[in-house]
């Protein structure tokens, strides 16, 4: 069975995620409205601007719908998506969706001039993976049930807790689909 995975499409790198999902053996869908979540087996919260996305999630009533969706389905957040999923965000009162027991720092590596590419090892996924970090966050600390998948200079940049997966870098900006394949596997197991 081919699993159906949605990509939140309020703004950001949406089409790249859909393409990567299709290459990784899933069917990709664009999610703009609450009804779009019906029948999906998993969801990706893409890179973009987390501040913008949260405002739009509230405004367009997608926030609660995604929280409900996440109670039984896998979710993968990249960069801004990671921030949306964190339970703790430095300098901000309260979380957004609060799905993963992680404490994150936004724009942790600096502004755009500090954005970078680096070679990563990602547990269960890949050795030598090109991580593209754009005004990226990192994870300062993780809770007990969280498995760290990758670190860069001592900071956590990818992790998993049950059906939730996050990365501070952008797998959708490379042609390497190993991260997407891993997530598709998670969705298949859950479906």
């Amino acid at each position: 069975m081919t699993v159906k995975i949605g990509v939140l499409a309020l703004q950001g790198a949406v089409s790249e995620h859909v393409k990567a999902l299709e290459k990784a053996g899933a069917k990709g869908y664009i999610v703009k409205n609450v009804e779009d979540l019906n029948d999906l087996d998993g969801l990706i919260l893409p890179g973009g601007e987390s501040t913008t996305m949260r405002r739009l999630l509230d405004k367009y009533r997608l926030f609660e719908a995604i929280q409900t969706f996440s109670e039984s389905k896998p979710v993968f957040g990249t960069c801004a998506g990671l921030i949306l999923m964190a339970k703790k965000i430095e300098g901000r009162k309260g979380p957004h969706l609060g799905l993963l027991d992680i404490d994150v720092r936004r724009n942790a590596f600096g502004r755009q001039v500090d954005s970078f590419e680096a070679d990563l090892n990602i547990k269960h996924v890949a050795d030598h993976y090109n991580g593209v970090f754009i005004r990226a966050p990192y994870i300062k600390s993780v809770g007990e049930g969280v498995e760290v998948l990758s670190t860069y200079e001592g900071n956590v940049v990818a992790c998993r807790e049950g059906r939730f997966l996050t990365s501070a870098f952008h797998p959708e900006l490379t042609n390497d689909i190993r991260m997407h394949r891993y997530f598709v596997g998670m969705v298949e197991e859950n479906a």
């Binding site: 790198a13 949406v14 501040t51 405002r55 960069c79 001039v113 593209v132």
Partner: protein, 296 residues
């Protein structure tokens, strides 16, 4: 582990990918920047004056006072862009030193160099440039621009030029995709484009960088129109803060850009926005008043 690389093509172009489907708003101070962020802008462009005021003021338009740029950088968490004059290497270096997230080498300001654009590959900070056709687009990409936008005719509140530029670039991209390699070389000569860039476009079937609409977006319907025509996102200059209720207007533009094919929604959000900026008919502009003819 290899050492991290900053300022690569991938991180420069990738930054623009994160802006897709979004609205980038011109602001002249911290207060406006916060209104823009609150309304859901994906980035702000810090300026001393919006294009319609630059038009009115006349004289030489330059990079904004660094005080304004810093004020905006400190006010919001979304990315901050700023404009440098075409060919003004030092203005661009100053903006890079201030750590703005993107530089717009812009025809809205008075060009500092009437022959050359900045060698943008030499910078760590990424650049966005305006274009009216695929020749200009390819030359800017060749110089290292990591994002494009239509030139439109800034500060006029008239969408006609942005429409013309978006349609022309996209039709030329389609043409290139269908060409054989020998035809491509002659076409490169005709439109003054680097052959290698056209080859990349042909092979990828699309521009290698994101292309936004800019110049003359005055209503939510204008923003949606540009998305319909294939824009990756929208810059709004004078339109927002020259309108009667900027916060409401800004939210409406953002929503119309995301849901550009949901016409009932656009009808709803367009109600009671007050008068948009007055606008200028192209026929009434002298050649010397046309910003799009600068830096081609």
């Amino acid at each position: 582990m290899a050492i991290a690389q900053t300022g690569t093509e991938k991180v420069k172009r990738g930054m623009a990918e994160m802006q897709k489907g979004g609205v980038i708003m011109d602001v002249v101070n911290a207060e406006q920047a916060k209104i823009a962020e609150e309304a859901g802008a994906t980035a702000v462009m810090a300026l001393e004056r919006v294009p319609s005021d630059i038009r009115k003021a006349g004289g030489v338009a330059r990079m904004a006072d660094p005080t304004i740029v810093q004020e905006v950088l400190d006010a919001v968490t979304i990315p901050v862009m700023a404009k440098a004059r075409i060919g003004h290497i030092v203005e661009a270096r100053v903006l890079e030193a201030l750590k703005v997230d993107y530089i717009d080498e812009s025809e809205v300001l008075t060009p500092a160099d009437d022959v050359y654009h900045i060698d943008k590959k030499a910078f760590t900070v990424p650049f966005v440039c305006g274009c009216r056709d695929l020749g200009e687009a390819s030359r800017r990409i060749g110089e290292g621009a990591a994002m494009l936008r239509t030139k439109g005719e800034p500060g006029t509140g008239n969408i006609v030029e942005a429409v013309r530029h978006m349609r022309l670039v996209n039709s030329q991209v389609r043409k290139v995709v269908g060409m054989s390699k020998d035809e491509l070389m002659v076409y490169a000569k005709e439109i003054g484009a680097p052959y290698e860039i056209l080859l990349q476009i042909k092979e990828a079937g699309r521009l290698p960088v994101v292309n936004f609409a800019a110049g003359g977006v005055a209503t939510p319907a204008d923003a949606a129109l540009m998305m319909e025509l294939g824009a990756d996102g929208v810059f709004v200059g004078s339109g927002i803060f020259k309108s009667e209720n900027p916060a409401k207007f800004a939210r409406a533009i953002v929503e119309a850009t995301t849901y550009y094919q949901d016409y009932e929604r656009i009808a709803e959000l367009s109600k009671g926005l007050g008068t948009p900026m007055k606008g200028i008919d192209m026929g009434t502009l002298d050649a010397s008043e046309r910003m799009q003819d600068r830096g081609i």
